[in-house]
């Protein structure tokens, strides 16, 4: 591993990102902080899509569960941040299980459809009880991770690095191989003695864990939680586009994709409303013509 070019490339990028606060404005750091939390959700999504072979159309369901669990506990039970984060992770995993156990028994596109409906359901409930949840307007949190831009940035970077490392390591482990085999050809994997449902369910739980944590960390950075920032379908779509853009089955690609989306949106801000259009068109072209994403392009060039 120490000889691999990719490893050193990742290390150099990480060091550069760590030192970034010394050179750029707080505004840019703020953007990247959000990008890093999104990156974790996107990487968790790639574990499902890239490895387990299941398309989760509702990643923001898991992120939202985590975010709102943390926020509500913090606001109404005055729970400190750390236990809130743990509760958020637990809630996302539980919610994920409730969703996945029946949904994984369905075949074909139905799993994806169930996850899609779940987001709408969550969004609806949150809006319905907006008196408690703050709904569309949002609910301010008494606690935040840090006030300082630099500290917030480093929290997010650390969180992304650790999550990415764990997810990447998992994807390359023996269990990850079995998961990938299950996603590629379930009958074949079962014939080799692997309990496909168990491996997929585990992947879903792990994906939910990181998504929930990312949601909770994000609201403690923003200091407020609202449907539009953590639950809305469009947020989920952004995770999905990020993961596919960066490169399926790579984990790291999802992080690159997330950062790219947010940075590109910012660079194109002078275009106003058009900027979303340009970014979306670009994403569409990449997905249509280079389904391997950024990392797929790199690998293809080298191979």
């Amino acid at each position: 591993m120490l000889r691999s070019r990719n490893f050193w490339l990742a290390m150099v990028s990480l060091v550069a990102l760590t030192l970034l606060p010394l050179g750029v404005s707080g505004y840019i750091l703020g953007l990247l902080t959000v990008a890093y939390y999104y990156a974790v959700a996107a990487m968790a999504w790639d574990l499902l899509f890239g490895f387990a072979g299941e398309v989760n159309f509702g990643p923001s369901f898991l992120v939202g569960l985590g975010a709102y669990t943390a926020a509500l506990l913090n606001v109404y039970a005055a729970m400190p941040i750390l236990p809130c984060l743990l509760a958020a992770a637990a809630a996302a995993v539980t919610g994920g299980l409730v969703l996945a156990v029946p949904a994984l028994r369905l075949r074909g596109p139905y799993f994806g459809l169930v996850t899609l409906v779940a987001v709408l359901l969550l969004q609806n409930i949150l809006v319905l009880f907006s008196g408690v949840t703050g709904g569309e307007i949002g609910l301010p949190l008494p606690d935040v991770l840090a006030i300082d831009d630099h500290a917030n940035y480093w929290y997010a970077l650390g969180f992304m690095t650790i999550s990415g490392g764990l997810l990447f390591g998992l994807s390359r482990s023996s269990a990850g191989l079995i998961l990938q085999a299950s996603g590629q050809d379930a009958v074949q994997a079962a014939a080799l003695g692997f309990n496909v449902a168990k491996h997929k369910l585990a992947a879903f739980c792990i994906s939910a864990l990181f998504s929930g944590l990312a949601g909770a960390m994000l609201v403690f950075y923003l200091g407020t939680v609202s449907v539009g920032t953590v639950v809305d379908i469009s947020i989920g779509v952004q995770f999905i586009i990020a993961a596919v853009l960066g490169g399926r089955r790579t984990i790291i690609g999802a992080a690159i994709g997330s950062i790219f989306l947010i940075v590109a949106g910012e660079v194109l801000r002078p275009l106003g409303e058009l900027s979303t259009f340009v970014v979306s068109t670009f994403a569409l072209v990449v997905i249509l013509f280079f389904p391997g994403g950024f990392l797929g392009l790199l690998a293809g060039r080298r191979g």
Partner: protein, 487 residues
């Protein structure tokens, strides 16, 4: 001694279709049993039931005495059943060696690193199946035979007590067949019980200790390969008892205007050569049959003609070059295929299926065509409002043919219409074809493995074997000159 695998009274029903009926057999350690039968005979369903991919409707499957019927696949696999699949989808970024290593892993969520001995064992297995030189390559860069070796390697890695092998030699060259035979025998020599599933006896005769032949879900014969090949029922199923040929007094082929001309047609699926330098000609108004075993390349030939799979070579229909035309345009041009898989719209009614076939006809033409078809297949009129899915197999086949005829084809390609149908139904179909031939000037190209069905109407016959045309001639000479190759 308890047999390694014991199947008793195995029955599998899919809705109204009885796919497997009361099949029983046992395989001891160190024994190879061949399970043979034509397409649709239920042999693959038996294999799936043993492995738990399908849940048996009734009957028992025992592995060394343990009842496993109804268990999920992964538990049956862990009990000691391994399978060599015909095709698999290898992982895109893992090498051959890593694929073998996966098969050696325990079913654990917590195992992050493989044991040290896993890599060593994987290497040993790669060497045993002859993948040593390519074990660090990605599967997609391998030739077809090596992909099949990889499937064998994965089965060996699980060290199963019972090995199921699905069509062991499909798509392999003679030299590769010899290699694979050695490997399969090595399973037997190691004391495993082996079940070979294949279309015909000939292919596996040299390898098997016993053969069980199936047809339409039932056992029709059992014994040594030689005994089964001599069996009357088996001969009737594969060759037909008495081959009847009714020559219609037609113009000699040479005098007909050619409608379809195929020359030097080759098709390959990735690494596997499915069709090799095939040339054939169908004259206007002629009825031509292409016979050959499953896997010989009939369907590929028809799909290539209809523009459904890319091919090299020349394809001319009524003097016009077909290459570069879309499948839809070829079909609109009057070259219509009724595919082996029927491809009915199951949720739509019989009438709707037929109306779809007649989409491009005028209103009156459509009505006229329908009337004519209902005369040809009266049962379809009675079934008009029923959804296609609920028809019996024979009715579905008639509907598929009728739908193809709704397009008013000039050349109708019928791909294995007898697939999975009972003899009574075959008789009905045969009569319909006969009427079609006598009352219209339609040109028909029929692909069949059932020679009894294919010969009576045909004016000329081609025999397709291992992707090539090996014989061409009138039907009355077929049995004498090429019959032996078709058992």
């Amino acid at each position: 001694m308890t047999p390694r695998l014991e199947v008793a009274g195995l029955t599998k029903r899919f809705g109204g279709l009885l796919a497997v009926r009361e099949i029983s057999f046992a395989i001891a350690g160190g024994e190879i049993l061949g399970l043979i039968g034509p397409n649709g005979s239920g042999k693959s369903t038996v294999m799936k039931c043993i492995l738990g991919i399908e849940r048996p409707t009734a009957g028992s499957v025992r592995i060394e005495g343990t009842e496993v019927a109804g268990w999920p696949t992964h538990r049956i696999a862990r009990r000691g059943v391994g399978i060599v699949f015909q095709h698999s989808q290898p992982l895109p970024r893992q090498t051959v060696l890593e694929h073998i290593e996966i098969a050696l892993l325990p079913d654990s969520l917590l195992r992050l690193f493989a044991d040290r001995h896993v890599a060593e064992r994987a290497r040993a297995i790669a060497a045993r199946v002859g993948l040593e030189r390519v074990m660090h390559r990605l599967p997609r860069t391998l030739p077809f035979a090596d992909l099949r070796r990889l499937e064998l390697a994965k089965a060996i890695a699980r060290n199963p007590k019972v090995v199921l092998v699905d069509e062991p030699f499909a798509g392999l060259t003679a030299a590769e067949v010899a290699d694979f035979s050695v490997l399969i025998r090595s399973f037997r020599d190691d004391g495993h019980a082996v079940l070979l599933v294949d279309h015909n006896v000939k292919g596996v005769a040299a390898l098997v200790d016993r053969v069980l032949a199936m047809y339409l879900g039932e056992r029709i014969a059992e014994g040594t390969a030689a005994e089964v090949m001599r069996d009357d029922t088996v001969r009737r199923v594969y060759l037909g008892g008495r081959i009847q040929t009714t020559l219609r007094d037609a113009a000699r082929p040479a005098e007909r205007k050619p409608l379809l001309e195929v020359a030097g047609l080759s098709v390959s699926y990735g690494k596997a050569q499915a069709l090799e330098d095939v040339s054939l000609r169908v004259g206007a108004g002629e009825f031509v049959s292409v016979v050959g075993l499953n896997g010989a390349g009939k369907t590929t030939l028809f799909n290539a003609i209809c523009g459904l799979v890319p091919a090299i070579g020349s394809l001319r229909f009524d003097g016009q070059d077909l290459r570069g035309r879309s499948a839809a345009r070829i079909a609109r041009g009057g070259l219509v295929q009724c595919p082996e898989t029927r491809e009915l719209f199951g949720g739509m009614s019989v009438r709707e299926n037929l109306d779809l076939g007649g989409q491009h006809l005028t209103r009156q033409a459509c009505v006229r065509q329908l009337d004519w078809l209902f005369e040809l297949f009266p049962i379809l009129r009675a079934r008009g409002g029923q959804s296609a899915r609920t028809l019996s197999g024979g009715e579905q086949q008639m509907l598929a043919i009728a739908r193809a005829l709704m397009m008013q084809p000039r050349l109708l390609i019928l791909d294995e219409p007898t697939l999975g149908l009972a003899p009574v139904i075959l008789e009905l179909l045969s009569q319909a074809l006969d009427r079609l031939r006598r009352t219209t000037d339609i040109t028909v190209l029929l692909g069949e493995q059932n020679i009894t069905f294919a010969l009576p109407h045909a004016e000329r016959v081609y025999v397709l074997e291992h992707a090539r045309i090996v014989w061409e001639g009138p039907p009355d000479r077929l049995a004498a000159e090429a019959g032996a190759g078709l058992l």
